[in-house]
């Protein structure tokens, strides 16, 4: 999550869901929290019951809107305009929490003279290379801060990277050389540059292009900006309604700026809560199965001139000041966990056994390669891309190009049976005889049939014990990986070629138990926690990690979860307080609210009694309070910083709460680490009915469209063939692609069929009948759905033009107890530049009454539809 990562230092929610009950105002935007996070939503309700004002900004009036004080319908895809409007409101009306902003953000830092804003260059920041279609971020740096590596490839800006790595950037700068002006008056200081950048995001602009009435906008602005200052705090909750845009990271950045200006980070009732939709989404980036990072957000080495020697790689990524000064300790300990005794100082701890990243190996990156016949094999575990991924037709057809496919799931998914009953087979585009793919479908154990740890949306690790054994041949994925690894290692055992050196060195001696030889899950968690190499003692704390190969640690951020042989803190079930200390383990160091040094004034006293969280205890000479301090425990507030010469977190002194950043402050302006600019800027979606009101540049220039004949786009802005805005979303009754819920009687009956939500106005205009059928089309696909006409959908007036929005939940497919067309077939494969996520929340479509054609007729219709209007 580079949006949060670059702004604050860590790519995780800054607070705990329980803490929402301490908020004075909450904005929920880019999320239908009541639908998709109903358990966590109880604390929003708690806050509401205590008198907090709850605001929901969403194109649809959904189950969340139904529970809040203020509902704001806005045009899907206009989020940055709205949030920029709030930022502008705060700045224009001097509503910022000045003392917080001056001390805890980079508002005072002065930018280079050659930096140019989008306001100067009609939608581009300085450094745009039109030929390469990417930015050179050199001119975004702070004044006086020479870039490391003499201006060569900057970390976080590698062409191949997806920006998950360390989730920050900033390492290209030396924190000792910044210039700043704490009066915030310098015309090139961040505060003034930002003021100019957002000056056109006025209430009138919001009304005209977001479709939000001015008085409603002002009501929100007044309500939320009042929840600020020493006595009050406000929180923001978001989910994939923000991330799944061609500019998703910058939407989150806008929220980060707003919260830093209002002094809402690191304080009780404040923060930004990234709501992750599944049991362990946070866990899946912390311990990633992503191509560009290693556990703990350490970047994968890229195939670049400076990454073939460990010392160059470390030099590039290690910072002198702040927590990333420990980069070498984290990385070398990981290599020791992976390669054991074979990893030595002499062989760079096995650094060259790690593969090098050479391009975009993300889901879409390799799937397009698959479509082009460049892949041989694929493992799919607990995923159903045939239904769940964008441009399903392309995804399914690509599977037919594989030599072999392994699927592990609890049921037979559409992905596993693409060769048998997919729409492509029905339409005659594929036939089983022509598909040479060998398919292995393994039965997987469910969560109640295996032990293991989830890391939930608030960075909380919770260990589950196993209530029952899985049925038949169903096994955990730990079992599968362990025994597959055993077999593969056996094949390589006597094969000394370089390619097998790492494989042979890989530590794989987990103890097994039971009749199925299940590997001991706790032994894996112990390795993740880390241990001393010499005497195999569990590490108690991140500070115990060493850079000399004497410690091993699978994920430095999780260090402390298993501090003693018999002490699994993820399995603790003894909650002591509202924040849940005593229940599970939160990374880092069991801090429930991170950056909580900011909950105290620079002198170490709480901003107010009402909002106290962590403070300096003068008697004990250490940080104390209601949470573990996210700060060196005995670093006194009056300690002077030594950014010029100091090292580590101590160099930041006693009053810089954002310890992962080399300058220790929150970043209103992100000088390094984002590929599409240091400040959020409004761009239209890749497909939009309207032109960008601010700039000639319509969409995010750095986003990747991946346009090709099998991934076509509508014209933008304003394609008359596809006049309406389309958003896809989920319902509380179903889980994503539906494999775990469409198959169940109790959930299938609650939402048995695909439907489309439309306003009465749209229904009138094109003749849709409630309960009847509609056909929805985009350049990628044509699908049909039942019509739900509801006043909860409404057309918006955008620049004098009535824009209709069409809603489609996406849970159905061609298997299960209840079936329906695959909504994701409508989406394009597109990549947001920083995390390579697709745009699902704002695209364009056509909708017509009646059912769609079948078989080849459908393809003909799609071709006709695409003929220029």
């Amino acid at each position: 999550m580079p949006g949060l990562g670059t702004s604050f230092g860590r790519g995780g929610a800054t607070t705990a869901q329980q803490d929402l009950s301490n908020s004075d105002a909450i904005i929920i935007m880019g999320s239908s929290m009541a639908e998709n996070h109903p358990v966590g939503f109880q604390w929003v309700m708690e806050a509401r019951e205590r008198g907090a004002k709850i605001i929901h900004v969403d194109p649809r009036f959904n189950r969340t809107s139904a529970m809040v004080d203020i509902w704001v319908p806005l045009r899907a895809g206009s989020d940055i305009l709205f949030l920029g409007g709030l930022i502008n409101y705060v700045l224009k009306n001097n509503k910022e929490f000045r003392e917080y902003v001056v001390h805890y953000t980079n508002a005072a830092t002065i930018l280079r003279d050659d930096f140019r804003d989008t306001e100067d260059l009609d939608g581009f920041f300085s450094g745009w290379d039109a030929e390469k279609a990417k930015y050179d971020p050199e001119s975004w740096l702070y004044k006086g801060a020479p870039s490391k590596n003499g201006g060569r490839e900057k970390a976080g800006h590698s062409e191949a990277a997806a920006g998950h790595g360390k989730d920050r950037g900033g390492e290209a700068q030396d924190a000792g050389k910044f210039e700043s002006d704490i009066s915030l008056d310098h015309p090139r200081c961040v505060f003034q540059v930002m003021r100019r950048h957002f000056s056109r995001y006025t209430p009138e602009m919001v009304e005209r292009y977001c479709g939000v009435p001015k008085e409603v906008f002002l009501k929100v602005a007044e309500t939320f900006s009042s929840a600020s200052g020493p006595e009050k705090t406000g929180a923001i909750c978001y989910a994939v309604g923000w991330t799944q845009h061609s500019k998703g990271v910058q939407i989150i950045r806008s929220a980060a700026i707003l919260q830093l200006l209002l002094g809402n980070i690191g304080r009780p009732g404040g923060g930004i809560l990234a709501l992750r939709g599944h049991a362990s989404i946070q866990g899946s980036t912390d311990i990633p199965t992503l191509y560009d990072i290693l556990p703990g957000y350490l970047p994968m080495p890229f195939f670049e001139a400076d990454s073939h020697k460990l010392k160059d790689y470390i030099k590039k990524h290690k910072a002198r000041t702040g927590s990333w000064s420990g980069f070498d300790k984290y990385f070398i300990s990981l290599m020791k966990a992976y390669y054991g005794n074979a990893a030595t100082k002499e062989n760079d701890y096995g650094f060259n056994w790690l593969p090098r990243v050479t391009g975009d190996h993300s889901h879409f990156g390799y799937w397009l390669d698959m479509a082009d016949g460049k892949m041989e094999g694929l493992f799919v575990m607990g995923q159903n891309p045939a239904v769940g991924a964008s441009n399903g037709r392309l995804e399914r057809k690509a599977l037919a190009n594989l030599k072999w496919l392994v699927v592990r799931d609890m049921v037979e998914t559409e992905t596993a049976s693409f060769w048998l009953d997919s729409p492509e087979v029905e339409r005659g585009e594929l036939s089983p005889e022509s598909i040479a793919t060998e398919v292995f479908l393994f039965p997987a154990a469910g969560t109640a049939e295996k032990e293991g740890t989830f890391t939930n949306t608030q960075r909380l690790l919770q260990y589950r014990e196993k209530p029952v054994d899985p049925p038949g041949d169903a096994r955990s994925d730990t079992w599968f990986m362990f025994h597959l690894g055993r077999r593969i290692k056996e094949k390589a055992r006597n094969d000394p070629r370089p390619r097998n050196a790492g494989l042979n060195a890989l530590t794989w001696d987990y103890p097994t138990e039971g009749k199925h030889a299940e590997p001991g899950v706790e032994s894996v968690l112990k390795e993740i926690n880390g241990y001393t190499v010499a005497d195999h003692k569990q590490l108690k704390h991140i500070q115990a990690l060493k850079n000399d190969g004497s410690t091993a640690c699978g994920a430095w951020i999780y260090c402390g979860v298993f501090p003693e042989d018999e002490k699994n803190r993820a399995n603790e079930r003894n909650p002591q307080d509202l924040l849940g200390h005593g229940w599970g383990f939160v990374w880092p160091n069991d801090c429930r609210i991170i950056y909580n040094r900011a909950s105290a004034r620079p002198d170490g006293k709480p901003w107010s009694e009402r909002k106290k969280l962590v403070w300096w205890d003068e008697e004990k000479k250490q940080w104390a309070g209601l949470d573990n301090a996210d700060y060196p425990k005995d670093l006194a507030p009056e300690t002077k910083d030594n950014l010029k010469n100091g090292k580590g977190v101590e160099a930041l002194g006693g009053a810089r709460p954002f310890t992962l950043h080399p300058d220790g402050v929150g970043w209103l302006y992100v000088a390094s680490g984002l590929k599409d600019g240091p400040l959020p800027t409004h761009y239209e979606p890749l497909e939009s009915p309207v032109a960008n009101p601010l700039y000639k540049q319509n969409a995010n220039p750095a986003a990747l469209k991946r346009e090709r004949p099998d991934n076509p786009y509508a014209n933008s802005p304003g394609d008359p063939r596809f006049p309406h805005v389309l958003s896809t979303y989920r319902l509380t009754e179903h889980h994503t692609a539906g494999g775990m819920t469409r198959t169940l009687s109790h959930l299938a009956e609650l939402q048995p069929e695909l439907f489309t939500e439309v306003s009465p106005e749209l229904a009138d205009e094109i003749g849709l009948t409630h309960g009847d059928w509609a056909t929805i089309s985009t350049p990628r696909a044509i699908i049909e759905a039942r019509v739900l006409v509801t006043r909860r959908m409404r057309p918006l007036w955008i620049d004098g033009q009535r824009v209709h929005q069409v809603g489609l939940p996406y849970h159905w497919g061609y298997k299960g107890r209840v079936k329906g067309d695959v909504v994701n077939d409508l989406l394009a494969i597109s990549e947001e530049p920083n995390v390579r996520i697709m745009e699902t929340k704002a695209l364009v479509c056509d909708i017509q009454p009646g059912r769609r054609p079948h078989g080849r007729e459908l393809l003909k219709e799609l071709e006709q539809k695409m003929e220029p209007a």
Partner: protein, 263 residues
């Protein structure tokens, strides 16, 4: 052993249907139709033989600037319906086999092994809750989780509710909570909030009480539910009077006849 009740506070209901599913899971009830209704997000229709908890979705027209819970407006209301477990239960009174009993917790419980499927209870329920099973015709409805309560557990729907919209406890205690909640809601400007327990009707109060916004009829809560047997009483009284008159008449007739004989 205390007399217990539900208090369903729909101002806290988020429409997640966890109660509906938890009820079916605990009681081993399957789906009863996979048909899309088009009626808001409600595809299970109403409480019946195979749906013992049911979440209603009541849609109004939302206005920008007002969420559904704003004092001024109530635009998409959810409320979890259930058997009311009446103090004066029509079903119980109508049951000829003794299958329907009142439990020690105050709930009304249909004993499936005794029910013969006559259906008298179905027409005797003033709320349309009791329903005959399609397979064998026996009557089924919410058991008030009699099994769970006996084991010291709260009903499954209560356990599953994430927002404490469904409260459970000793009945008088809950009534007190309801009064406090009503005062609070009115103070917050939700003057349309209503407490419903039918204590002013012949059912003489229920063990499933509700707080709803707007007209209770929108939530299938009738304004004046009546136990049909109150009419039976009238009928019995008139029959008794009739029978008495008849008897008196006959006696008189004999009397006069005797007199006649004596003449």
């Amino acid at each position: 052993m205390s007399v217990t009740a539900f208090l369903t506070d729909s101002t806290l209901c988020i429409g997640c249907k966890a109660c509906e599913v938890a009820c079916k899971e605990w009681n081993g009830i399957g789906e009863d139709g996979l048909d899309w209704s088009g009626f808001s997000y409600d595809n299970t229709g109403a409480v019946g033989a195979s749906t013992w908890r049911h979440v209603k979705f009541v849609e109004h027209a939302p206005e920008p600037g007002f969420g559904g819970n704003a004092p001024e407006l109530n635009s998409w209301a959810f409320s979890s319906d259930v058997c009311k477990h009446c103090e004066e239960a029509g079903c119980l009174e109508a049951c000829p086999t003794g299958a329907i009993i009142r439990t020690e917790f105050g709930g009304v419980y249909v004993q499936p092994d005794i029910c013969n499927g006559c259906g008298y209870c179905v027409v005797a329920c003033p709320f349309g809750v009791v329903d005959k099973n399609r397979d064998d015709g026996r009557a089924f409805k919410c058991t008030f989780c009699y099994d769970r309560q006996k084991a010291g557990l709260v009903p499954a729907c209560v356990k599953a509710c994430p927002t404490e919209s469904i409260k459970f406890g000793e009945i008088e205690n809950l009534r007190g909570k309801a009064r406090e909640r009503m005062a609070e809601l009115h103070l917050r400007g939700m003057t349309d909030a209503t407490f419903y327990d039918a204590s002013d009707s012949s059912v003489r109060g229920t063990h499933a009480m509700f707080i709803v916004r707007g007209d209770p009829r929108s939530y299938n809560l009738p304004p004046k539910p009546e136990v049909p047997t109150i009419y039976l009483k009238k009928a019995w009284t008139s029959s008794a009077i009739g029978a008495g008159l008849l008897l008196a008449g006959s006696l008189l007739a004999f009397l006069f006849e005797n007199r006649g004989d004596g003449r």
